[in-house]
Subunit: 357 residues, 5 copies
């Protein structure tokens, strides 16, 4: 989950609008599937040649074209062309460093970029994949990098196939909404994992702090940073969709967009709470480290301040002066022990009064 993909600058100097795939190549070949439906008919097939899409572009049925894999810029360009996408839109589709955004050519299409998230439990990392949607009058084209396991859109396909649900009755705008909703639903799962990590970390902070705790905390904070970058701008995108009186979005769909907006706000809210908690934990960590240092120092001080004077005392009577009056005394040795005991007791009392023991 890097901050940006290498060579994000490789298009520098090219003509604005030159198509360059920026990002990791995640799949072998670009796969195009078309689902064409209305309330009574349903057709689903894989298309070999990008240009075939154009046969669907003019039909009155709702068409959903899904493109997996973005490295084959020619194919992307051809698919885009079928649906009238501007060259700059195509450039955005293949640049996986895009932040969530909304673009449009009035009366023609709406173009939405958003980020799909998945929690990789093996690596304890969050995977990010860019999804672009191109909504025209009666079609939706979705572009995925196909980096994540499992296709988050599969449940939607199932609902399209078997159900006599709203998805089959409503227009392309509702389909686009459903795709966005599926992506946003995925955020909750990711946040839940991160929430669990936050709680595990908090318990560790109370019980057994180690330098490792710090690095886990740091990696958590970094992931929250990346999530933030991926999710925050989406709020604006959906607000803009609601405000903008695009003729491509039916009034009936508005209530769903409002619901989606609420979900995004809820996600952001939780994200910010997690960030606040993570910040608080760093303070706790530093305090714990300070406390430990204090404790270590106390042990050292107690030992040293008791034994250093005692060692001095025994050192005195280790001197070899010929005239030391105490040495021949019968009870000299016992007396030294008595003095040392007194010193020790005094010290311990002092420590106890200072609450160091």
């Amino acid at each position: 989950m890097g901050i940006f993909n290498r060579h994000s600058s490789k298009s520098a100097g090219l003509e604005p609008g030159a198509l360059v795939h920026i990002g990791e190549r995640k799949t072998e070949r670009t796969r195009i599937t078309v689902i064409d439906f209305d309330q009574t008919n349903y057709e689903e097939r894989e298309v070999q040649v990008a240009a075939e899409c154009s046969t669907y572009a003019g039909k009155p049925t709702i068409t959903w074209v899904n493109v997996d894999g973005l490295h084959d810029v020619d194919t992307i360009a051809k698919v885009g062309a079928c649906f009238g996408a501007h060259h700059l839109v195509l450039e955005d589709i293949v640049d996986t460093n895009q932040r969530p955004k909304l673009d449009y050519e009035r009366e023609k299409y709406l173009f939405i970029v958003l980020k799909m998230l998945q929690y990789d439990e093996a690596e304890d990392d969050v995977l990010v994949e860019q999804v672009s949607l191109l909504l025209s009058h009666n079609s939706v084209v979705s572009f995925q990098e196909q980096k994540l396991e499992g296709d988050v859109f599969d449940p939607l396909r199932k609902r399209l196939r078997i159900q006599e649900g709203r998805l089959r009755r409503a227009g392309a705008d509702y389909l686009a909404y459903s795709l966005m909703d599926a992506v946003v639903d995925g955020y909750f799962a990711v946040l839940e994992h991160l929430g669990e990590r936050v709680e595990t970390l908090e318990e560790d902070l109370v019980q057994n702090v180690s330098p490792n705790t710090l690095h886990r905390l740091h990696s958590l904070k970094r992931q929250l940073l990346v999530l933030r970058k991926a999710i925050w701008p989406l709020r604006e995108v959906i607000s803009a969709l609601q405000r903008g009186d695009s003729p491509l979005i039916a009034p009936e769909t508005m209530i769903y967009l409002r619901d989606l907006h609420d979900h995004v706000i809820q996600v952001i809210d939780t994200l910010e709470t997690l960030r606040d908690m993570a910040s608080g934990m760093l303070d706790i960590y530093l305090s714990s480290v300070s406390n430990r240092l204090n404790e270590v120092m106390k042990v050292l001080t107690i030992i040293a301040t008791i034994f250093i004077p005692l060692t001095f005392i025994v050192g005195i009577y280790g001197m070899n002066f010929q005239h030391m009056p105490e040495l021949p005394w019968k009870w000299g040795y016992a007396m030294v022990w008595a003095v040392m005991l007194a010193v020790t007791i005094t010290m311990l009392t002092y420590f106890r009064r200072r609450r160091w023991l």
Copy 2:
């Protein structure tokens, strides 16, 4: 008081609007009570079958339906249906992770989600419960999780029964306002408890700091975080109610909403002050820990810097060289004591000058 309920993502992949209860199951069975009144009549009873509600939906009297327990989604759906609630509204009612929000279907109903708070003195924790209100022309439906002890709406019921008060004369909008007001009044009690904890903590910081103090401070900060999440959005909700010229809210009720708005601002203000104080306390804590370390180090340093040289001196005359001129001296031993005394006094003077003693 977790950040979110487990399985908040369990609805992911379902059709938007599918009814899934998200949250802890807090009560055995869903209980529906209906209070139907106007200025002269008053009827209060428990309803067994959700569909019975519909008999009240058309009456000219004011009807207050209260539903306790949200796990039984079918019942919720039926009650909602009686009052014309959209499917997405029902979904919000049973998802206890909602943040406070306002939704509406113009001319039909206003839908308000808010958070009820209660201080659990046994656990020193803040309990959060979601309350949803559905205000239609002459009815209010309230949905509670019924997790908290005591029903915060009981005083309202009493006022409805015995008093010839404003509540019986005014419309459903005033009833809805009274319910919200009851919830917001509960916030003050919670803040007062937290304020007391802040003050106890402050005294502890001055008198006896312990690692435990840190964890209490941390838990306090976390509770303030949760409160913030529960209360902040309510301000927007009430502002929207005031701005929005819904026909469901009578102009006479506006002044009450303004008062409610002031109360929420006051709550937020106090909350932010508590947060600021809690932040300040962390600094104090860290400083106290530093001060203690300093003190410990000073004791160690004083002991060590006095006795280490002395031990060295006695070590010298413990050497077994055959030719040590001082050893046979008559006053050698006394001289060593004199030297040691001089060293000690020098050191103590030095420490005093440095204000370490």
Copy 3:
């Protein structure tokens, strides 16, 4: 100067608008004084029965009713009734936890809550008292808790009595403005005291840091927090007064309100500067503590690293082996001293190079 008064929640559950005095009882009995004047006449007297106020309500002269003490809610209610105050306004008057606010019933009255501040030099604390103003067509009613020493409105009374000043010629709105101006002028005195404390603290930080410094700093920050809570909302209140085209405020008074607004901004500005300075001081404090620790550690290290090796050396020749070639040497003892001197010089050179000495 607590964050809120105890039992701020005691009204929870009551009908909204129920009159409950929230706050400390600061005076024995509620005292009502009436000043009634126009350009030629002046009458000042204490009223025994609250209802007497109504005789002034209808007169063409300007009437200023001042109420000291808020615990007697009945009297407050009666005075309020004379001037047509809404029940919610009365509730705000007796709740001393109000934040500064503006409320109004168009054409009838403006209701303003603000906070009077006084620096208690004996306790080094800031006292806060709530003042409410009810401005109607030709009367002003002011409500005070009467907790502070001296009445901040006395100079105003004097100006009303003796001067042929603007106050006697202008309307009730100018009187209300003058009352607010007197309150805001009091803020400058409080800030000046706090500014002096900030400067004293800064000097102490440079010269003699002690744990006590930290607590003084903490108490200062807390007082600034309380001030902030009392003063910030006032800006909004006065802005709203300026914006709102209330018929109760004459256009000639506007320039005075703008001046008052500037004063409040100036107060806020200074307050924020003091807050910034106080924050900066905490950093200085922590740094000073660190520096002291460093210094202590250096002394310890210098002493220990010089004497520990020396003690080791003398320890060697304290061993009782029968075959130790150095012991019988004539210059053995001198040689040991030479070695020890060499060690000491080496160490001191090392410390000097490291700038520890």
Copy 4:
């Protein structure tokens, strides 16, 4: 450069608008100079009696009246009266705690308060002086405290005298702009000095940190705070000048105000950058202190952990037991040295592995 002048509250309780000079008295006597000019004529003289100003007030030529020294409130009042200034404006002129502000009486005058800054190299401090401008139809009155060395308006006077420049052709608004521009130009010089101090401090942080560094950093931060207070509000003032369609400002002057606005933004930008850098430096300082402590501790630890065990070993053979088998050994002494050498090498290896050496 205090946060506010003593006795800033001395006007409390007076009638709003009472003239009291607040601030240090910086000059012996109030000096009034008048420059009266149009494209062909130029007159410059010092006026003894304030009332003389009125002779210029009605003339068609452009008049610039400059008043140095603010303590003589009567003179100020008379000068103000000539140009129709409101009493509140006069009050602002003599209160040197004003923040930059814009006030106006439509069609009559614009009143601008701003802060002149000068870097005092001897004291390494920033001096602040308040300048007020009163722009009427064809006159500008400027009020200075005359605290700074050199008059920042002298170059303007020269340009007025010798040049056939724009200043002589344009109106009073352009003159007022030029005065403000001269003040803002002075900010760059101050920021440059502070920028140099920031850089010197940064070098010191890398090379030789001392407690003194901290106090220099603190004083720098405080000066930046004062600058901020003096400069930030000016942005608003100039924006308001641009927005407000005052008839006193000719459309041709607008482009100059836009340029001035850009300069102020640039100043603020640099100021904020310096503040960010100063904040960053505190972190560096604290880290440096920590690093030094670490280093000190390492030296102590290395010395102690090597010699304490050795001292123990030699202590063993200093015991006086009659039966110690090693003592009579021939190679006992050599053996002890061997053991000690081994211990030392082990320790050093350990330290090297931990990268302490």
Copy 5:
């Protein structure tokens, strides 16, 4: 990469609009190249005399004048004069401390200042160069300091020469956009370098912290600060270009400006993420230092607390009392060893229980 160029104040006191070059002199002589083209013709040449520009000013073809080097203010003034630039615009061109800004004279020209960035790998520093664009009806004049290696506009020249691209067909506004786009593309490269440095630093923080790490982190933060200053205001500039309905910008160009705006937002987003990461790293650094101190202290404490008591014990039997019962014991010496072994084991057990080992 200083915060500002020396002598940024050297224009203080001059007439507003006086032309003074502020900044480093980066090139020997000012070089002016002119490219004049339309869809069919293309002319590119270097102009010796600034006044020659005027021959192009009136032509219907698109003219791009590029000026390298800003120190020769006369030449700049002449070039500016050809295209009708206001004196204040010229002043901005030669002042390299400008922040990105947009200025305009309606119907005549748009004036844009922006900052070109380049990463200097040798010095690990970011170089900043000011670029000003003056867009009139059918010409663009660009001014560069010519400090950076390589000309970022070269690819544009190539596209102009060889391609039958959009650049030749579109107007001067598209050319200006392309120049800005080239500059913004350069930002990505710089951010990528900084991103790599962030990652290298993060690895170092985990593996081998050194005081040097701190200084690298500090220098990184400072560079991010400078970038911020250079890039943030550009967003406003482009927004203003989009909003402002200048007749100089064709509606077809708007979509490109929107794309450019998105790129700038993306740059800012990444920049802020890097800043957040750098802040986080300081915390990690401080924690690492604390951890190391802790570790050092533990080693010292373990060694000291084991050996100090042992040294005391052997000290006892080094005393020379004549009556010490243990000394003549046969197993005395062995017994002492036993006691010492017991003490050591006790200590080690204690340390293990505290997890110090």
